[in-house]
């Protein structure tokens, strides 16, 4: 008896949905820019977890390649996002996301 007969595929889906929901709540309720970025990372990881589980249950390696690409894009997104955050912090002296309510820098 292998482990996949023990763990149904739905459990991974539920776990991924819960993680995604926690990340979404974090994006919506926190005002700190860095924590909002971290919550976005959490949401990306929830999707990664669902993709890896579907790759394992469907015996298809393409999903793992997609996870690889998502990791790349997440790394790029974080580096650019934190660079933008440092520029904003230098100008506004604040980490509040509600301080960014104007288009004019």
């Amino acid at each position: 008896m292998t482990w996949t007969q023990v763990i149904p595929a739905e459990w991974y889906l539920i776990l991924g949905t819960a993680l995604f929901g926690i990340g979404l709540i974090g994006v919506l309720i926190r005002r700190n820019v860095v924590i909002v970025l971290m919550s976005i990372e959490l949401m990306l990881n929830a999707i990664n977890l669902i993709l890896v589980s579907s790759s394992a249950y469907h015996a298809n390696l393409s999903a793992q390649v997609f996870v690889f690409f998502i990791m790349m894009v997440a790394a790029v997104e974080v580096s650019v996002g934190l660079a933008i955050f440092t520029v904003i912090y230098r100008r506004k002296e604040s980490t509040d996301i509600d301080a960014l309510n104007e288009l004019k820098g």
Partner: protein, 161 residues
Amino acid sequence: MILGLFCFLSLLTIMSALSVILSRNPVYSVLSLILCFFSIAGHYILLSAPFLAVVHIIVYAGAIMVLFLFVIMLMMRTSDVGLTSWVKRIGSFFVVGVLGVTIVALMQRGTLVLPRYLASVEGSVSSLGRVLFGQYAIPFELSTILFLSAVVGVVMLGKKS
């Protein structure tokens, strides 16, 4: 045994994720996010994808979280900005509730047909590399352009004007 491992890892993942969004100190958030990423890597190993688990730890815990920690320790004052308004908070729980109900309803109706058994797929380096450099070679090369543009953009943004 495996079931207990899955439950333990899931509990660790959910608890540390909750701690990310609920702790007042951003440094604690970063540390619990690192714990969350390690437990997700444990899930990857459980799902027979060891290469992705290693890459996940190297990229996330090794690079991204160090970047976060540096930015927080360099920039952040200890005074933390609070939460958003009540309307947004209640709205966010509503949105997440709708998401959860949708997933549960999809499972209940049997629209979502999920397989029961794991076919023998191994996420080893050689098999994953064969797919990555065979079928997905062009997107992989294109992602290097993304990285290059990100490097140029970050240097441009970081320069003191």
